[in-house]
Symmetry: C2
Subunit: 432 residues, 2 copies
């Protein structure tokens, strides 16, 4: 008889106090990016289908995306921040100064069947630095530092985070050094990426390229990548790059960074550094962010060569994962009201709003209760239910005498203050 009240499965809906936690985290991270010279851009959620995909086979991609048609135009909901950014940058090359820094904090969509911890609508924080023709590898360091600083800004809310850093160039050089045919590379990288999740990744690699080469690949993890120094010039370069990056991070007192060559990231477009962030206390969340260096991202939109290094934080996955874990204390987000302003009768309304405005100017969080016809008991109940620390009561006496009556909701103590003395309200608790 009634329409359903639950959101569609795979869609997130938070209670107000959970949303407050979510917003506090996102606002702090955005603030770090703002103050680091990254420009916020907010791109359309809907793009032409041809922008979203190169495939002509709609049936196949429709299972993964939200696609639809209006009039003659096929379009769909964006699934990441990269496609839109590429289009945007290609369209605005002359309006921008390069290297150009961007961040997006936006909803993205996946049409796939919902699974645990995967959402069909989710916020992602995308952070990118883009250069024309070239972009110094120094910006790799900047992106990683900026992400570390962003996570640190919410460390008290989500716990500490570490970063694991790999290098696609290492594997490029290593596969060449081992004389591995190009046709195996994509599959090899996917196996290495999923190494810890696979039952027997060594066997999977052996099946692909034979025992001898598989053994050497495994040595990267058992002996360490430094084992392969002085064997190949490009390999040395890739190793030197990583050592240098880690040195620089250590010089800047960043201790929660390590080299891990099993980090290769899923996307084919990465060409250099790749990195992933993990929660120290919640390893079960998997990578809570990651990124890397890519080349020629906008080639489908423009002949200008754009090089970039970027990162994405799976924000909904992280924050909703933490909320669902029940291991985060959200009580600070539940009880946030300082004062319930209780207005006793309609004649006091204007005076009540005057007091409300005054209290807000003093930075109190105040919620007014304006059901003047209700009994005093109902009014006090409201103050209780919203967990207000104080009630401020405004009745005809208060109006007449230009005072307010104040009640400490914990102790029950009550007393009267002149309106003018409200400016000393900050000292209140000691009076009661």
């Amino acid at each position: 008889m009634f329409k359903p009240t639950k959101p569609l499965s795979g869609f997130i809906e938070l209670l107000p106090y959970q949303q407050k936690y979510f917003d506090e985290c996102s606002n702090r991270m955005k603030k770090v990016l703002d103050s680091s010279g990254f420009s916020h851009i907010d791109l359309p959620s809907i793009e032409r289908a041809e922008v979203l995909t190169d495939k002509d086979n709609w049936d196949e991609i429709e299972t993964q995306m939200f696609l639809f048609q209006k009039a003659d135009t096929k379009m769909g909901l964006r699934y990441d921040g990269t496609v839109g950014l590429s289009r945007y940058v290609a369209g605005h090359i002359n309006d921008l100064v390069f290297p150009s820094r961007f961040y997006q904090f936006a909803k993205n969509y996946r049409g796939e069947r919902p699974q645990h911890g995967r959402y069909r609508e989710f916020y992602q924080l995308d952070v990118d630095i883009l250069g024309i023709e070239n972009l110094s590898e120094n910006y790799d360091l900047e992106i990683i530092l900026t992400l570390i600083e962003s996570y640190r800004s919410i460390e008290d809310l989500i716990g500490s985070v570490k970063v694991k850093i790999g290098n696609r160039k290492f594997w490029d050089a290593f596969f060449k050094y081992l004389n591995i045919d190009d046709k195996y590379i994509r599959e090899l990288l996917i196996i290495i990426d999923k190494k810890d999740k696979l039952k027997d990744y060594k066997n999977d690699i052996k099946d692909l390229i034979g025992e001898e080469k598989a053994f050497k690949i495994n040595q990267v993890f058992t002996e360490g990548y430094k084992h392969f120094l002085n064997k190949d010039n490009n390999l040395d370069k890739a190793i030197f790059y990583l050592n240098n990056l880690l040195d620089k991070l250590l010089q800047l007192n960043i201790k929660n960074a390590e080299i891990d060559l099993s980090i290769v990231r899923g996307h084919a477009y990465y060409t250099g550094v790749v990195f992933e962030f993990f929660s120290d206390n919640f390893p079960e969340l998997g990578a809570i962010g990651g990124g890397g260096r890519y080349e020629n991202l906008v080639s489908k939109f423009s002949k200008t060569k754009i090089i970039g290094v970027g990162a994405a934080v799976g924000f909904s996955r992280l924050i909703v994962g933490l909320i669902d874990s029940n291991k985060i204390d959200l009580s600070n987000f539940k009880n946030i009201t300082d004062i319930a302003l209780l207005i006793m009768d309609d004649n006091c309304l204007s005076y009540g709003f005057e007091i409300l405005s005054l209290l807000k100017k003093l930075n109190f969080s105040v919620i007014p209760y304006l059901e003047t016809d209700k009994k005093i008991k109902n009014k006090m109940e409201f103050a209780d239910k919203i967990n207000a620390k104080f009630s401020v009561i405004i009745g005809s006496d208060e109006l007449k005498n230009k005072t307010v009556s104040l009640k400490n909701m914990k102790t029950g103590k009550q007393f009267t203050l002149s309106k003018d003395s409200l400016f000393d309200f900050n000292k209140l608790e000691k009076y009661i």
Copy 2:
């Protein structure tokens, strides 16, 4: 050959400095709502088709909405904040304390063909107070005051705003008083709502209900609504309500409010006060926000009776309209970088990031330029292009002596500071 770089028509895409203006406005308005005890909620953009509409005729609504099907589920993109809020409140009645305050700042979607000033994707700020079974009319005043305060928080960015207030109950009583058949009411309200846009609204009304009654309706606007005092009890009540509301606003020193009974709002669900906000300097934008009181909003989701009063600000329409007018000075959003941090060679990188971190702690907006291989000329060009007020130059001398070299980009004056003296950086301008 290349894919299109423009967004789909009807979709908004701003340049970084325009986005900064947009964000500054939205952040300030949201801050007012946060500090007024309104809870932010962020609902899914996609809802079941049956939640979005009561109609079974898909073909008809498909022209106005973005609808699609995944597996067996028909769904679509939300077109306003009200439908989702109704579903949310019905689903969470036991988790909420009533009266409950909410705001949403979210993208909404219209599938209609794009027209000038109408977007297919747009931000709307929705503000609502909801009560169970009843909700004092005092909350009408609170909503209007809260919206006025929100607009005022951005008055320096958008100009001043006035509010025009009407009352559906006036027309209910007036139509009864004139003995007008219920079947004409919806159409009459639509004509009154569009009164100033229609060529000859008087004639339109006359055609509908005859000359005599049309004359009386017109008298509301020519003689003023007070002309109809003491004729009908319900009419008196509706007039008294409006007078009282305006009195209260005046007592609170709100002078930019007026009664205008031609304000009736399009939606059928309003039952009491209705109001619209207009820009004083940009009347061509039309109503830039509005709302009113509604009853039994969640009746399709729950048997609990929910009464509400709410408002919506057509945020994209307002802000993009102002940007497009070219009458708003956005230079403050263009030149926001205090310092370009120019790093001369890779050996100085860690020291450079140390200085960067220091300057950010001092609340400077700093953008680093890390293309160490480029010539000094290119580095200075970058500082010029981003309109930095100062360049801070970090080279091997600076590293060795723990200093920074500083250049005022306007005067060209240059000097050297010790790293420690950076803490006095705020006094800098007087030294140069």
